[in-house]
Each structure stands twice: as C-alpha cells, then as structure tokens.
Amino acid sequence: MENILTQTLVYLGAAVVSVPIAKRLGLGSVLGYLIAGVLIGPFALSLVGDQADVMKFAEFGVVILLFLIGLEVQPSTLWDMRKAIFGLGGAQVVGTALTIAAAALAFGLPWQTALAVGLVLAMSSTAIVLQTLDEKGLRQGPVGRAAFGVLLLQDLAVIPLFALLPLLAISAPQHAAEAGGHGGSLVATLPVWAQTLSVLAAVAAVVGGGRYLVRPLFRFIAKARLREIFTASALLIVVAVASLMQTVGLSPALGAFLAGVVLAESEFRRELETDIEPFRGLLLGLFFMTVGAGVDLPLVARQPLTLVGLVLGLMVLKFLVMYGIARLFGAPKRGALAVATALAQGGEFAFVLLTFTVGAGVIGAQLAALLTAAIAVSMALTPVAMILYERVAALMDAAIPDVTPDTGDFDEGEPDIIIAGFGRFGQITGRLLAANGFKSTVLDSDIEQIELLRRFGRRVHYGDATRLDLLRQAGADRARMLIVALDDREKTVELVETARKAFPDLTILARAWDRRHAYDLLSNGADAVERETFESALALGSTALQKLGFRAHRAHRAAAFFRRHDRRMFEELRPMWGQEEAYMLASRDAAQTMDRLLNADLHRMRPGDAGGAWDTASLDEELRERAQQEGAD
C-alpha cells in the first residue's frame, strides 16, 4: 500500500485544482470531483492505485449526507410532505424501475436482471440534486420540495431493496458475506430470527439513544464550552451509528439518516449541521473522486456507443417518467420540467446497490461496470442538463409572457427574525414579535436556559451566535432582522460587527448595556439600540411617582417627558462621544438642562412641553377679569 500521505496529497491536490476550475466553467463542484477522480484514476494518470480502501472511507460522505438530511427532516416536516414523499416518490421509484426494466427486457436481458437494473437505476443522486438546486436557488420552492420528497423516498427504499434484490439472483452468489461493501456483518452467521431481532434492537438503540442518551451528552459537552469537542462528539455519533448499523447488516447511511431524524427536534440541530457540514463536503467530494477513479476507461473505450446509448436512455427515460408523474400530481409544466431534469441521473446508492447485486449474483460484473460508468456520466451531465433546462425555461417564459413564476411556498424554515440570546431580554422581545405573527429563529448558548425554555414549549437552538457560519445556517442571509440580546457586552459588539459586514441588508437591533455601549454598537453597524435598563427604569420611576401621590396620567407623562429629553440628549451627545473631556462637559450640561426642564414642568407646565393645554392659570386670570367686567355691567 502506498504512503497514506502521498494518497492524501493526490486526492486533495486533484480536488483543489479541478473543483474551482469546474465551478468557474459553470459545471458545478460534483462534476469537478468526478473529473478529478477520472484523471487520477488507474485508467488515466494512474496516480492512485486500488481505490477500494479509499472508497470505504469515501462512502462515509454519503453517510454524513444522509445524517444531515435526517437532521432536516423533523417528523412534522415528514407529515407535511407525505404527499411528495409517498405519492410522488413512490410513483417515481415504481414507474422508473418498471420502465427501465421493460427497456432492459427489450434488449434481451433476463427478467430478473432487468428488474434489478430498473430498481438500481431508479435511484437519483441526493447529493448532486440538492447541491444543484441549492446553487440554482430552487431548493426552497415547490420544485425543491417535490425533488426532496422523491429523493427521501428513494433513500428509504434502499432498505427493502437490500432485502429484495438477492431474491432476483440468477447465478450463485459470488461472495455473499461481503455483500455490497457492507461486509463485516457480525450477525450474518446467526439464524434469521436472531438477525431480525438484532436489526430491531439496533434501530431501537438509535432511536432511544438519540432521545435519552445523546441529548444529555450534548448538554454536558455544551456546558464545557469546548467547540472542538462538540464537533468531535457530533462525528462520534455519526460514526457510532454507522458502525452499529453495519454490524447488524443494515445500511450505515440509513442508520445515520435515522439518527438525524431523531436529533432533528433537538436544540442542537443547527450547531450539529454547522459542525458536520464541512466533513460532508469533503467526504462527498472524495466519494465522487473514487467513483470517477473507478470508471473503467478501457471498457468504456471499447464500447463508446453502448455507453452513450445507456446514458441517453437512462436520462431520457428517467426524465419522461418523472415529468409524466409530476404532471399527474398537478405540477405546472415548468415545475415538472425542473424536477424531471434535476432527477434524471443515477445516484450514489446505485453504486452501492450495483456492487451488492454483483455480489448477490443478480447482475453480471461486465454489465455492472458499464452501468457504473453510465451512472457516473449521467451524474456529470446533470449540471449540463440543468443549464439546458434553464434555456428551455427562458424560452417558455418568452413564449408565454404571463407565465406564473415559481413562488416558494415551502418557507416554513424561513425566519423573519433571528434572535441571538434568549435570556430575560430576548424572550420578551421574542414573545411580542411572535404574538404579532413573525417567525423567529432563536440562538442561545446557555444550555440550562434552553432546557428551561424547552420545557415551556419554546423552540430554541443551541449555538454561539457570534459564529458567522451558524448565523448563516440560521438563515441570516434571508431573514429581515437580527435582534442581538446577548448578555455579554463584548460579544454583542462583536456579533453586530460581524453580522453587519456579512449581511449588509440585514436590519440589526441590539440591546445595549448602557449609553457608552449603545454608542459602540451604533458605530459598529447596529441600526437601532435600546439600553437594556432604560425603559424598565422609566416604568419603575413612573410607578414611584404614582406611589408618591402623582396621578397615573401625570406620572405616565412625566416618564414620557423624561424619555423624550433623554433620547434627544443621546443623539446630541453622540458626536462628542470618544472625546472624554468634551463628552463629560456636554453631558453634565445636558443633564442640568433636563433637570431644569423637568422642574419647570413640575411647578408649572410649559406650553408645548407637557400638558400646557391644561395649564389654566393664564386662562383663569383672563376669565376672572371677564367675570368682574360682566359683574360690573
């Protein structure tokens, strides 16, 4: 085996060189990875040898991808999307599998193989589709919703497929124990009932563990405030679940998906997503590179026409079936076109299933190699197909000027407001906003506080809001407003500054400690600030005045009067802030002016300030004079 450093060097080097180039050319990062893989593969430059052990590692990218998808799938979301998942998704898998199987039959394959090929090719690439839709900004719309539903069902369908495909065997299994790279199943030698039992036990362990073990663990770690340990424990969860699933012979990716779903409701969801995300990108990239490296170039070179035919047949059939189903389900033409184009490729699970079917003796190795190449090419062509779709869509728009655009109705995850810090201050603001129908995403890093709030049924995410990536995850680039209510003075300034730089259009409101802090925040980009104790102190002052014998309305007015003058003073002194001496003088002066004004109000209401309208002294005098005159008449 070659030096592991050399291998790493080759893979990373290839990625760093080819991915930016591919992106610059508008081909998307997935294609970049695939091309890099082909180039370094044994059939081209041959920089890497047998990529089998790298493949095992790389498949972990798929596992993490499914974990992240699971995190996004809250049970409530699942229920909301049941039509897209089970209706659209089910129809796509069955429809595509049968259509492709029929085509394969027509080419003379035995029916078992034909059916297996159909089922394998029905899978689309979750990684590519989601990434492509994200890049095109289609993810949150009806198109993204439909595609996500279909992909989810496909990913779920992999479980029964592992059980069903061996039944289609036409030749003796080659090495069943090593089925589909999922070898090492410790339970394979057990009787069937024990296998079933262990599978059930494993699933129960994931669900129960996620609920009762992992969350306390995260809480414990969060309290320690060690960011890298949090990341490590997140990875640990994924690895542990994956290996547990492998042990009982289930797909590690599906185990990870399940773990994700279990954790989707937890307060750590955002932080987990943010922490795992970079690993997903890199490992998926590695996965695509190994697929690229696995493309048997000599075989393809010998049968170029067959490959072209396979790719075109695969994509056209998948496109037609998906388009028809989407239309049947009531999608508009453009939406159906987009979904069908997006899903018209083979998926990463197809690779896994192919290896598995070869092992189970369902599909021959030659055919599998050809299909692998075809799937890889179809994946590579997806960005190209999407560009084509955009051309066609533009033409459709031109032809029908009043075509209804895709307005995203899938916006449950889109917050209007992000609230950073949900302590005593943030909660009140948050409640006021929620009571008025605004959706907010709340971030807080005090784990005890979160636990308490969760008990009251509030949805709060764990996370350090000063992290830009986490802010982005929370939707800061789409939200209308960021409210900063952190307890920490310095962190508040830091967050305002970071957010202002990263999201120039975001309205930022911040809670200030005192006047100086308020000036600090304003000069760092806050749109508005509120001194945290100002309003409540005024309210208490007003109550004090009442208890001292003022009538309620008068006390209220006194507080309002004070507020107006203080705010005026705040603005007037702002330019002086920073020049210690001048600020001191000016502020003393302003305070004296205010005392004078308030005293004047106390003794005799001044016209135009507070209640001059009810100052009847001058009027009384005039009336008295008039009464005397009248009496004299």
């Binding site: 309305h553 006390a555 309208a613």
Partner: protein, 193 residues
C-alpha cells in the same frame, strides 16, 4: 395598568356608571368637587378614565361590560374646545362600537339614559348667540345628544357648571350638592325599597 386608587367599585347590575375624564384632575377644583360629591352615592360606579388608562390603551371589553351593567351612563368632563377631552373621545371611539352601541345588533345601550355633566371656564353669558362663544351649551352638546339618540338612549337634561375656574369654595360646594342631588335622582326607583 390599573391602580387600586382608581376608585372603581365592583360593577353593579344597575345604577349609574359615572365616567370622568379630566387629564389634570389634580389641578381642577370644580371637577374634583363634583366627582367627590357624586361618587359617594350608593348605586354609582365611578370610573376615572385618565387614571385608569394613563397610556390611552383602553380595555374595550371591560368598558363594554361596565356599560351593559348600568342603567344610566353619566359623562363628566371639562369642556375642551367645545368638546370632551381627548381620552373621553377615544373611549367613545373605541368602546361605543358598531354592533355594540349602534347599528345592526348594537342594542347594548338601548333604553338606557345618558347624562352629561360638564364644566366650562367661561361664564353662562358667553354661551349665548350674543356671547363670545356664539352658541348655547345645548348646541355644543349636540354631538353627544345625537350619540345617545343613535344608540337608542334617553337624553337627560345636562348638568353644566359655568365659570368653574372663578367660583369660590362656597359656590363650588353648592354646585357639588346640586350635582349630588341630580345624580341621585337618576338612580332607579328601586333604591328606595
């Protein structure tokens, strides 16, 4: 925020709801004297609007319930620019709603009595075709009279104290006694039993 000192009594099932609006009652001799005289009567529920709603945020349901629970609605206020003070207007605008006080289904006040008690700065002479206010008090109170009419209420003869600012203590005391007797006469006969 309501305060214990607002003088609101437990809602009666009948009697007079006396609603006072004066933004600076602490400076008003006349209205204070009048209110003091009337609010001691049994069967009178006293409500001081500026004390109850210093921030002008009126609780509509509470106010409507109070109106429903009384036979007589008495409005006491100083005449400001030939009308009620702002908060009393706000109270009318927000509480006497369509569907409650008037219009389709708005019969909550039907058959009740509306009584207006009003103080003015100027003398009675000023409220005359030849006085400097050019119109009579009856004319200035027309908007309220029509409000009562629209709500199916009976319009009682208003109680007006002219020249409130220039009256001496003895004169004010006499007015207060007169006011007390007038409010008592509005109470339903059953209080005699």
């Amino acid at each position: 925020m309501t305060n214990a000192s607002t003088g609101q009594m437990t809602p009666a099932t009948s009697g007079v709801l006396l609603v006072l609006a004066h933004p600076a009652l602490e400076r008003s001799r006349a209205n204070r004297a009048l209110a003091k005289a009337a609010k001691g009567l049994s069967g009178v529920t006293f409500k001081d609007l500026y004390e109850t709603y210093p921030d002008f945020v009126i609780d509509i349901e509470t106010e409507q319930a109070a109106l429903t629970a009384h036979d007589v609605v008495a409005l006491q206020f100083p005449l400001y620019w030939y009308s009620t003070p702002a908060l009393m207007k706000e109270w009318l605008d927000l509480v006497w709603l369509h569907g409650f006080a008037y219009g389709e289904g708005g019969e909550a006040l039907k058959g009740k009595k509306m009584f207006v008690a009003c103080t003015t700065g100027a003398s009675a002479k000023a409220y005359h075709a030849h006085g400097y206010n050019r119109f009579s008090m009856d004319e200035f109170l027309r908007p309220l009279e029509q409000t009562a009419h629209l709500c199916g209420m009976e319009w009682a003869t208003p109680f007006v104290v002219h020249g409130a600012a220039v009256k001496d203590d003895a004169a004010l005391k006499a007015e207060a006694e007169r006011y007390r007797a007038r409010v008592a006469s509005l109470l339903p006969a059953k209080t005699e039993a």
